[in-house]
């Protein structure tokens, strides 16, 4: 196996972060954590993860704002994003976002299930990433 997949977890619930960190580490991921959207953005720039798992309900910068920030920057626009939410209707809120998110995960989810989804998301082929960057560039012009 190559270098481990690096995952950034952003959630204000410390217990959930703990449990996911432990489970994902056990399954061979490199895990970085942040307890708020703003901290998540900072950690993202430092750690350059391959994938971000984001909780929706957070103080200060919430999941929606974090996704917008990450998607608005060409450097981060192609990174797979997984949204973790307790409310099914949250999906509606994210529909307006240009590049969208890769996956909505409705709580409760086990670390094993989330691990499988991360692997799937990270394995999107390069063509898809190209398409996404291209889409973003076009939007920038328009």
């Amino acid at each position: 196996m190559n270098a481990p997949i690096k995952v950034l977890l952003v959630d204000d619930n410390e217990d959930l972060i703990d449990v996911l960190e432990e489970g994902l580490t056990n399954q061979g991921f490199a895990v970085v954590v942040a307890y708020d959207g703003a901290a998540g953005l900072e950690r993202f720039i430092e750690a350059r993860p391959d994938c971000v798992v984001i909780d929706v309900k957070m103080p200060q910068l919430d999941g929606y704002q974090l996704v917008r920030a990450l998607r608005g920057d060409p450097a981060t626009a192609a990174i797979p994003l997984l949204i973790l939410t307790a409310l099914p209707q949250d999906q509606e809120r994210f529909k307006g976002l240009a590049a969208g998110v890769d996956l909505f995960l409705l709580k409760p989810q086990t670390p094993t299930e989330i691990a499988a989804q991360i692997r799937r998301a990270v394995l999107i082929d390069d063509a898809e990433r190209e398409r996404r960057l291209h889409h973003l560039a076009e939007e920038g012009q328009g």
Partner: protein, 496 residues
Amino acid sequence: MSTMLPAYARIFADYDRQRRLNLLRIITPFFYIVESLFLVSSFLLLLGGVVGGRLGSPQGFALIETTISSAVINVVYGLAWHAARRGQVGRASWLITFPTTLSFMISCVAQSARDGPSPLVLSLLAGFVVVIALAGALGGRGQLITITALSAIGAVGTMLVAAALHGDTLGSVQMAALAFFIVADLAEFAIFLAVQQSSRVSIAQLGELRLAVERAEQLDDLKNQFISSVNHELRNPIMGMLGHLDNLVNAPPTTPVERLRRNADRALQSAFRLRRLVDSILDARRMDQHAGEFDPAPVNVLDALHAAIQLIDPAEAKLVERDLHIAMPADLTIQGETIRLQQILTNLISNALKYSPLGSPVTILGQVMPEKTGETGKRSVAAQASARMMAEITVQDHGLGIPPDQAPLLFNKFVRLPRDLASTVVGNGLGLHLCKVLAEAMGGRIWVESSGLPNEGSTFHVLLPLASTADAYIASSPTAIVTAAAPTPYGVITNE
């Protein structure tokens, strides 16, 4: 109609007003235009009379009279139209019906004074039928009665004047015509009264329906709020439990036993959290029914307060140093039940901590005050004394405050402020409901005062009956000061 509830009466009044306004907006301009045409034609006739030099004749005199009264009526109809356009239903309908009736009365009496009970005068009486219909359609019941009475007086008066001035008693034809007119008048009155009354009844029924719909919509809102808060509250602990169990089952073979035990233990903690939540939701109903089942006994408020502070869930109310300022007379004693008082205090203080910024103090005060009469809450215990002495406990925070329009709703089951639903502060919307049920079960009440302005915070007041032995306390009023004995997760606890 006497059984009509105030809410239905309001709905009926709204609907009836709208119906009359719609009619007035059609009828007043129509009357104004017809009357204007009449005015123009009588003016032209008058002009012809002036040119022909016939003004001195009785016909010429009648023409002047008609033109003037027509001009007056024209102005009045104009005012009625104006009132209708401005939505003044009562004024517009009176301006149509009353002057019309009056002008008919005047012209009937004037005509009969000249001609006696002639066929022309009898035919003029038909005009009263129109004004009663107008009053029935445009006016309320009072207007219908007034106009009907005036019409009857006008008709009888016309005949009496004719008979008196022409030295005649009324002939059988005139008598029959008058009797027929009075009967028709009353029949018309009865018909319109019945129409008004029946529409009143059906609107009351519609109103009942509308209230039921409103209530159902409100319940639906509450249900949605509840589902969305419970969704969040349930999914998180389930995820914690599943996660720890998943980690336990899928742990690498080399994992130390302590680590595995920790996973199991934390899964258990999540399960306990889940159980507490389920209990609180399912118990809300039970609590409603059993809140009053206790033997009232004297309970020291300060003791209950200390116990209550220990009970606050540090995880829920954020384990951060917070200053609790307490000014509670050491011997303030209520007549109630310990656990219930503790629950009220725990809920109020934990709310104050949850919904105010870190670092801001929470102030808890206790004092004795007479219960104000007039502001009545439900009193199931000791409701006999009208101005009994009560213990007032207030819990004040410096949070965002509560918008005044939302404050009364807060004590309903499953209600949380929209702001809090959107926030990360957890809650199931049951705490304040429970406080209300418990306070009322002990013969007290609870309310909140808040300007709704940020930083001004909220003050929750609980009024509970004093224990009878506390009468002595009121007389001597000692201000004993007790400092917190047990260490707590909170910062400074001062009893000033």
